[in-house]
């Protein structure tokens, strides 16, 4: 009798694993990662708005903005590490997790690209300079929030 109960319990546990562990296509939602990435995205949006309002038109303003760039980079680096540790249950979910890490790093690369433009030429408003960064970081934020119900 005990054996029958044991087998039944094991079968239920096995079925629960089959139905429950189902991050087959994408990692589960991570509220902390979402919060960190969204906060970084808001900092990126503020940087872009300041640039489009002419605050960084002169390349000499780069020195004063380095701390802002560094803070955003740091926040995105933390988000990328956390995104890389998301649990998965299959090759396709790993692909989705790696893509999410790629989007966060892509956002970071665009911030670096804007910093280089700023340092070299200044950021002239209305020249399309900030759009690529906003697009990449928007996708990073959407990706980490993608599995939110």
């Amino acid at each position: 009798m005990k054996l029958v109960h044991g087998i039944r319990a094991a079968m239920v546990a096995g079925l629960a694993l089959a139905l429950g562990a189902c991050a087959l296509f994408a990692p589960p939602y991570d509220a902390t990662l979402d919060q960190k990435t969204t906060a970084a995205y808001e900092s990126v949006a503020k940087l872009a708005a300041q640039a489009e309002m002419g605050l960084y038109q002169d390349k000499a303003t780069y020195a004063g903005a380095v701390d802002t760039y560094a803070t955003i980079h740091g926040a995105l680096a933390v988000a990328a590490v956390r995104a890389a540790s998301a649990p998965t249950a299959g090759k396709r979910a790993e692909t989705a997790r790696d893509a999410t890490v790629g989007f966060v790093k892509g956002c970071s690369a665009q911030v670096a690209g804007l910093a280089t433009l700023h340092r070299t030429y200044g950021l002239v408003p209305g020249t399309g300079a900030t759009t690529a960064m906003m697009v990449s970081c928007d996708q990073a934020a959407k990706a980490v929030g993608g599995m939110k119900n």
Binding site: V12, L15, A16, A18, L19, G20, A21, C22, A23, L24, F25, A26, P28, R92, A93, T95, A96, A99, T100, G102, F103, G106, A109, Q110, G113, L114, T116, L117, T120, Y121, V124, G126, T127, G128, A129, T131, A132, M133, M134, V135, S136, Q139, K142, A143, G146, M147, N149
Partner: protein, 126 residues
């Protein structure tokens, strides 16, 4: 087939239309499947491109700066293409979760056995 040598585009809408035609021409199937995700990003790219073009023509920025801006745009659009694949995986996961959440509740409500504890959480309304 676009005659690139005589391409004469002055507005964002014209550029968006030309880009949509071009992408649809490369793969109608891809464009139809992904245009809802890509359309907004394509318009952002078109708007920024027209800004860069005007700034370059008016000598507000040097060619080297325009080149850097467009290279950043190329990286961003490359990421957009990857984003469409990612969203397909997210949709598949959402469909999987929705299906087995419902099935899990059907079984739990009749048997008291929770086969999908990550999806079926009695005591919460979600």
């Amino acid at each position: 087939m676009v005659d690139f040598a005589s391409l004469d585009i002055d507005t964002v809408d014209e550029l968006v239309s030309a880009l949509e035609d071009e992408l649809g021409g490369v793969s109608t199937r891809w464009w139809n499947a992904n245009k809802s995700v890509v359309a907004g990003y394509l318009r952002s790219l078109a708007e920024a491109t027209m800004q860069t073009r005007v700034a370059l023509a008016n000598h507000q920025i040097p060619a080297e700066a325009a080149d850097m801006i467009m290279r950043n745009q190329q990286l961003a659009f490359n990421q957009t293409l990857q984003f469409t694949r990612f969203m397909t995986l997210v949709l598949a996961q959402q469909l999987l979760d929705a299906t087995f959440k419902l099935i899990g509740w059907v079984i739990y409500n009749k048997t008291g056995v929770n086969l999908a504890p990550s999806l079926v959480q009695p005591g919460t309304t979600a």
